[in-house]
Subunit: 358 residues, 2 copies
């Protein structure tokens, strides 16, 4: 009987309550299957700042390193917004990505057929659904490059940040892109700004070289400005998108928004081994925290991604995903996705509806 060690980081705001439903899902999986999950909680974000003065205590990072997977709720809130940058909740996110070497962020943007009307796009554009996987580089680029202040002749103080990518960094993220495409519809769109940026030119060279290893994958290159337009004009043209940390930040959020259901979307951050970090893409929503209103589905689907990528349990992942679809088809909705003719339920009720379908 295999046992998986999972570090759970509930975080702030609605984090703890959506995590509670995700844990219930894991417990249900334990009952049905022959797997054991050893769960232990730790602090990250605002709650860690309150307790230890830093958004990612060393003890949390150590515990994560000794796990098979990390499940995160959400971090942040107005309370910590006026602190200096390096001790804000978001700094904890950047530190855990770097600390665990999670260089690839996988962000599926999917419209469930029962939620098509939620998309802000015209019905004829989303009639065949949206199913995009954005693969964002997560530990390099301008997020982690050299930055500072200096002075510019006649223009006063100046501040700079450095976008930098090495061949090795591009190779490993491009490989995740190609491999993802192989498991899907075999179309990979590499997004860059090679008509302006040197780092994008290197990016493109490496991606083209690697495409020789994947003759079955159709590789397209698209400038980031055009990609921002095409996501709105015709999202169906995309299968897998692979791009840099900064462009991926922007495009993965845009891709999520066109599905119309931010509360539904999970994410996975993975590295060279099987250790991964799984979290909903939504924020900590302090305005509805503690009111049993938050949608736990994105976090539950993050558990599915965890089963798939860190535990290698594809069948369990599918089981959870199908359970979510069934509950949606039966017409249950949390407040963020409720519409005429559907039944409004709270966080806990939504969680138990899903576990009862597993």
């Amino acid at each position: 009987q295999k046992t998986f060690k999972i570090t759970v980081l509930p975080g702030d705001g609605i984090g703890p309550e959506v995590i509670r439903q995700a844990i219930a899902t894991i417990k249900e999986v334990e009952k049905k299957y022959e797997y054991k999950f050893e769960l232990s909680e730790a602090l990250i974000g605002g709650c860690a700042i309150d307790a230890h003065g830093v958004p990612l205590p060393d003890s949390t990072l150590e515990q994560c390193k000794n796990s098979d997977a990390v499940l995160l709720g959400a971090v942040g809130g107005a309370k910590w917004d006026t602190l200096p940058g390096h001790i804000r909740p978001e700094a904890g996110l950047l530190a855990i990505r770097a600390g665990l070497g999670l260089f690839a962020n996988l962000r599926p943007a999917i419209i469930y057929s029962s939620l098509k009307n939620a998309s802000p796009l015209r019905a004829d554009i989303v009639k065949d659904g949206i199913d995009i996987m954005v693969v964002r580089e997560l530990t390099g680029g301008i997020y982690f490059g050299k930055r500072g202040r200096t002075a510019v002749e006649g223009m006063g103080e100046a501040a700079y940040d450095t976008e930098m990518y090495s061949v090795g960094e591009v190779e490993r993220i491009a490989r995740v892109g190609f491999e993802s495409a192989m498991k899907r519809n075999k179309i990979l769109t590499s997004v860059d700004k090679a008509n302006v940026l040197e780092s994008s030119r290197l990016w493109r060279e490496v991606v083209i070289k690697m495409s020789k290893d994947y003759p079955e994958v159709t590789l397209n290159h698209m400038y980031v400005d055009n990609a921002a337009m095409q996501l709105v004009r015709n999202p169906m043209q995309f299968d897998v998108i692979v791009t840099s940390n900064m462009f991926g930040d922007i495009l993965s959020d845009e891709a999520s928004m066109i599905t119309g259901s931010i509360g539904m979307l999970p994410s996975a951050s993975i590295g060279a081994g099987t250790l991964g970090l799984y979290e909903p893409i939504h924020g900590s929503a302090p305005d509805i925290a503690g009111q049993d209103k938050a949608n736990p589905i994105a976090t539950i689907l993050s558990v599915a991604m965890m089963m798939r990528y860190s535990c290698g349990l594809e069948n369990v992942a599918k089981d959870i995903e199908v359970a979510v679809e069934r509950v949606l088809e039966k017409g249950y909705r949390t407040g963020d996705i409720v519409s005429e003719g559907t039944e409004l339920v709270g966080t806990m009720k939504m969680g138990s509806l899903i576990t009862s379908e597993i």
Copy 2:
């Protein structure tokens, strides 16, 4: 009688034919009003590469410098796509922006009421129209920062680009943002990534400082990833957006696409004086070049912006804009915006319909 010197840069693809209709508009303005426009043509882009081996010949830049305004068609085409970066058509665009000191790019994203159905967004989202002015910094940031190649220990060759902004650069673009907001609905959204980038933190500091000079303007700060989402979710919340060169490239194109009428949108690039460069936001569309199919409206509306910003002729600008609206209301459309119940016309016919309304 005032005379304005205009340098006309037809460029490549559909550039020359849309420019022809824009010139017809200028001639009509000359007939109706007491102003003279001295037009002289010059080369930029692919046609300049063919004739002189460079996308922006010195003679063209000189001629532009000695003008009151520059009117550009479009540049580029497959023929020049395999040339090295610095002699591609796009390099001519970057060089003319820098060469003329055009640090502010004004990109209106407007839905004309007669074209609402063209928007890819749901009808209920665009029911009150879209009317956003994106103010993009155009001669700084990562577009013009230090770049190159280097090596990274254990990761092979690396390439880098530098995002850099000085207080002076941010001040002058922020001022354009605030001034634009003062002439509109007095809401300014400054877009940055201050939770990660040092250059964004300086950007935000300067914008906040300057807001003291504009107590009537409501200033909001928004992260670029959120802005990419909000444009799709609720574009009506925006009045003026001010942002960096790179973020502006992405967001101005996204804002244009949600209007659904790329062929309708003009742009202005301005600097410290009244000299400005005016061009449609669409590309050179080689596939339909020379077939009398291109929509000349974006270029004609660029003439209107030229009248407003470089010539100080607000009444003439309005006259042209109203002429365009009237022709649309009468149901005439080029191929890119034609729909059931409207009448398809070619480039030349559309141009003459508009001049006849002036």
